[in-house]
C-alpha cells in the first residue's frame, strides 16, 4: 500500500516500471528498494528459511540482518532491502541457501574516479549519519581533509527518516525536523575539504589505519592518518513464538518503508516498546494513515518522553505498560498478536491475554552499538549495559585505545541524534588536534569545551541518567586502559 497523502513528506519516486516476481508481472518505481516495491504490491514473504522452511520477510530494511535475501536475475542471496529496483528484473522467492548459477560472474566496469588504491586521506570517517557528518564539519572547518564513507545510497544515516522536530536548543537544531537537519549538515560540508562516498561499505580496518572498501562489487584500499568510527547501531530483536513471521519488523525498518519509500507497513500495527523510538514511530504511523492498535511496554513505566506518549494517547492509542507480547499469529505472515499483562518478575499473568487484530508487529526494543570495525582494529571494548552493549572504550575526547582512532554517536553508546551530533563534533575536534600540531591550542580547547558543555546539558536531566552512568564507566575504563582525552 502506497502512502498517497502525508502531512510532512512528499515522495519523489522514479518512473513506474515493470518487473517480474515469481513469474508474475508487477510494477514498481525505478530506484526504490526491491523489498519496498514488493511490499507495496502486497508481497511480504521474500524467502523461506534454510532448515525449517519458515517464511521470511525483511526485518531491518537497512542491509544488516539478511532476512530479506532473494534471488534476483538468477543470483541468490541479494539483499533486497537495499538493492534498487530496475526495469525487467526477475525476482524470485528464495528457498534455503539458493543455488549459485553456473556462470562466470563479471565485475561491473571500473569507475575511473575510483581507482583500486584510493591513496591516503588525513581523516577517514566511517558513517555519514549525524555523528559522522558533524565530525567532518568540525574537522573540515579547521582545515582537515576528510573522507566520509557510507554504505547507504544517500548520506544522512537515520536522519533521512526522522520526520519529527528535534528537541534541545537552537544550537542543536531544536524544532528542526531530522530530515531537514540531514540537509543542513550536508549543506555545511559543501564548502569544506570534505568528500562523501556513498554506496560504499567499509569491510575491514587493518593495522596502520588501512581501510578495505567495497563499492559496486569492487574492492578499494584507502589509508588514513586518523579514523572516526561513526557506525551507528543495529536494532534489537525480541524472541517470542512466531517472531520470525513476515510482518514483524524493526521500528527503523518501518520508518524506512513509510518515510523513505512511502509504503505503509500494514493496515493495523502493534508497537512493542514505549521508549522514544516506539512512541515516535507510533505517531509517524498515525500520520501515514496507519492504525496503531496499542503500544505495549514490558517495564512498569513508559521509557520515552511524556510529550511523545501524549501525542499517540490523545489520538486514541492505548499505552499498556507491564504488558508483553506472548505470540504472533499467522502462518505465512502476521495475522494477529496475543498480548498479556506481566507481573513484576515479567511472568505473564494468566487470564489477562488479549488477542489483537493486527497485520504488523513493530519492534522498538532498543538498539545495540555497531562495534565490529573497532573490534577488528583491536580497540579495547567493554560491555556497558547503560550504553546498549559492547562499545570501544573511549575517553572524554572520544579517543579509543588505538592511537588515532575515535568513536562517536550511537556506536559509542545508544543516545539521541542530538548527542550524536555533539559527540561527532567533539571527535572531529580531537582528531584535528592530533593531525594539526600547529593548531591554536586555546581555540581548540574552547571548541572542545563548548561541545562537551552541550553534551553535559543534553544529558543532565532524568532521561540522561543511562548515558551519564555509561559514560562515567567509560571514563573509568579509559583512565585504566589509556583511551585518552
Amino acid at each position: 500500500m502506497r502512502i498517497r497523502q502525508h502531512p510532512i513528506l512528499e515522495f519523489e519516486k522514479g518512473p513506474l516500471i515493470e518487473f517480474e516476481h515469481d513469474g508474475r508481472k508487477l510494477t514498481g518505481h525505478e530506484g526504490e528498494s526491491i523489498a519496498a516495491a514488493l511490499h507495496a504490491a502486497g508481497v511480504r514473504v521474500l524467502r523461506h528459511s534454510i532448515r525449517l522452511d519458515r517464511p521470511r520477510g525483511f526485518f531491518c530494511a537497512i542491509g544488516r540482518c539478511s532476512s530479506c535475501l532473494m534471488t534476483v536475475d538468477g543470483v541468490p542471496n541479494v539483499m533486497t532491502c537495499v538493492t534498487p529496483l530496475k526495469a525487467g528484473m526477475r525476482i524470485e522467492t528464495q528457498t534455503g541457501k539458493g543455488i549459485i548459477p553456473d556462470v562466470r560472474f563479471t565485475h561491473p566496469p571500473a569507475d575511473p574516479d575510483y581507482p583500486r588504491d584510493l591513496g591516503n586521506v588525513p581523516l577517514a570517517i566511517v558513517g555519514a549519519g549525524p555523528a559522522g557528518l558533524s565530525a567532518a564539519i568540525a574537522a573540515g572547518r579547521l582545515g582537515v581533509e576528510c573522507v566520509v564513507i557510507d554504505e547507504n545510497a544517500v548520506p544522512g544515516g537515520q536522519l533521512i527518516k526522522q520526520t519529527h522536530m528535534f528537541f534541545g536548543s537552537k544550537e542543536h537544531h531544536a524544532r528542526v525536523r531530522g530530515i531537514d537537519i540531514g540537509e543542513i549538515l550536508l549543506k555545511e560540508i559543501e564548502d569544506l575539504p570534505v568528500s562523501v562516498i556513498t554506496g560504499t561499505t567499509v569491510l575491514g580496518l587493518y593495522a596502520d589505519r588501512v581501510l578495505a572498501l567495497l563499492r559496486n562489487d569492487r574492492f578499494h584500499r584507502l589509508t588514513s592518518d586518523s579514523i572516526i568510527l561513526a557506525t551507528g547501531a543495529s536494532e534489537n530483536m525480541l524472541a517470542f513464538p512466531n517472531s520470525d513471521l513476515p510482518g514483524v519488523y524493526g521500528a527503523g525498518a518501518v520508518q524506512t518503508l513509510m518515510n523513505v519509500d512511502g509504503v505503509a507497513p500494514g493496515k493495523r500495527v502493534l508497537m512493542i516498546g514505549a521508549g522514544n523510538i516506539g512512541l515516535i514511530v507510533s505517531y509517524q504511523l498515525l500520520q501515514a494513515g496507519v492504525e496503531v492498535a496499542a503500544v505495549v511496554e514490558g517495564l512498569p513505566e513508559i521509557g520515552g518522553y511524556h510529550v511523545h506518549a501524549a501525542k499517540v494517547v490523545r489520538a486514541g492509542v492505548p499505552i499498556l505498560t507491564s504488558h508483553t507480547i506472548l505470540r504472533a499469529l499467522g502462518t505465512e505472515h502476521v495475522e494477529g498478536a496475543v498480548i498479556s499483562q506481566i507481573d513484576p518478575q515479567w511472568c505473564p499473568i494468566e487470564g489477562t491475554e488479549v488477542e489483537l487484530d493486527v497485520d504488523t508487529i513493530c519492534l522498538a526494543v532498543g538498539l545495540t552499538p555497531n562495534c565490529e570495525l573497532g573490534s577488528q582494529l583491536g580497540c579495547e571494548e567493554a560491555f556497558v549495559a547503560e550504553l546498549g552493549g559492547r562499545v570501544s572504550i573511549h575517553g572524554a575526547g572520544l579517543a579509543t585505545t588505538v592511537e588515532g582512532v575515535y568513536i562517536a554517536g550511537d556506536a559509542s553508546g545508544i543516545e539521541e541524534a542530538s548527542t550524536a551530533m555533539l559527540e561527532g563534533r567533539l571527535a572531529g575536534l580531537s582528531a584535528a588536534g592530533r593531525l594539526l600540531p600547529d593548531l591554536d591550542r586555546n581555540e581548540l580547547a574552547r571548541l572542545k569545551k563548548e561541545a562537551s558543555e552541550g553534551l553535559r546539558t543534553l544529558r543532565a536531566g532524568p532521561f540522561g541518567e543511562h548515558a551519564r552512568a555509561g559514560k562515567r564507566k567509560m571514563l573509568e575504563l579509559a583512565g585504566v586502559r589509556g583511551g585518552d582525552s
Binding site: 502531512p7 536548543s169 537552537k170 531544536a174 524544532r175 510529550v307 511523545h308 501525542k311 490523545r314 486514541g316
Partner: protein
C-alpha cells in the same frame, strides 16, 4: 496511575499549567502541558514577548507568565513535543476556542464539524473548525482552532475529522 504508566497527565499536573479563571476569561492564553525535565527549550525562543521561561538549564519545565502571554500562538508549532495549546475562554455564549497543533492530512476546512478528543483519546463531543493556519513559517505543523462548549476547553486536545457523507 501516573503519566509514566499510561501517558495521561493527572489533574494536579494539568492544573499547574492553567491560569486563574479570571485570566482565562480575558482571552486567549498558552497552556503548556510539559511536565518532565527534558533537554528542550524552543518555546522560550519562540515567544517574542518573553512570556515563557525555563529556570536553570534547558532541562527545566517551562512556565508561562499569563499576564504577558496574549495567546499569539507563535509557540504552538515551535514545540517539538506538540504540547502547547492556546485556549480562549473570553468568548460569549458558552463557547470557547481551543487551538492545537495538527500534523495530519487532510487538513480540515473552516466550518467543518469534527469529533473532539481528550488527552486520553476519549470522545468528548463535537467542535467546529474556526481557523486553520498553515504557513511556511509553521514548518508543516499547522495550527487548527476549533470552537467547543466552554466546559470542554480544558479537555479538548485533539480531534477526528468526521467521515465525509457517503
Amino acid at each position: 496511575m501516573s503519566h509514566r504508566q499510561d501517558g495521561i497527565l493527572e489533574p494536579r499536573q494539568i492544573d499547574a499549567s492553567v491560569p486563574a479563571t479570571e485570566r482565562l476569561g480575558r482571552g486567549p492564553v498558552a497552556i503548556i502541558e510539559c511536565v518532565e525535565n527534558i533537554p528542550c527549550n524552543p518555546c522560550v525562543d519562540a515567544c517574542q514577548k518573553g512570556a515563557i521561561r525555563i529556570e536553570g538549564d534547558m532541562n527545566g519545565t517551562p512556565s508561562v507568565d499569563f499576564d504577558i502571554c496574549d495567546g499569539c500562538m507563535l509557540c504552538v508549532s515551535a514545540c517539538p513535543g506538540l504540547a502547547i495549546f492556546v485556549v480562549n475562554k473570553g468568548l460569549p455564549g458558552g463557547v470557547a476556542e481551543v487551538s492545537l497543533p495538527y500534523e495530519y492530512t487532510p487538513l480540515p476546512s473552516v466550518g467543518d464539524t469534527v469529533v473532539t478528543l481528550s488527552r486520553e483519546g476519549a470522545v468528548l463531543g463535537e467542535g467546529t473548525i474556526q481557523r486553520v493556519l498553515s504557513s511556511k513559517a509553521l514548518d508543516r505543523t499547522p495550527i487548527v482552532t476549533l470552537s467547543v462548549p466552554a466546559d470542554h476547553a480544558m479537555d479538548v486536545r485533539h480531534f477526528l475529522a468526521k467521515e465525509p457523507p457517503a
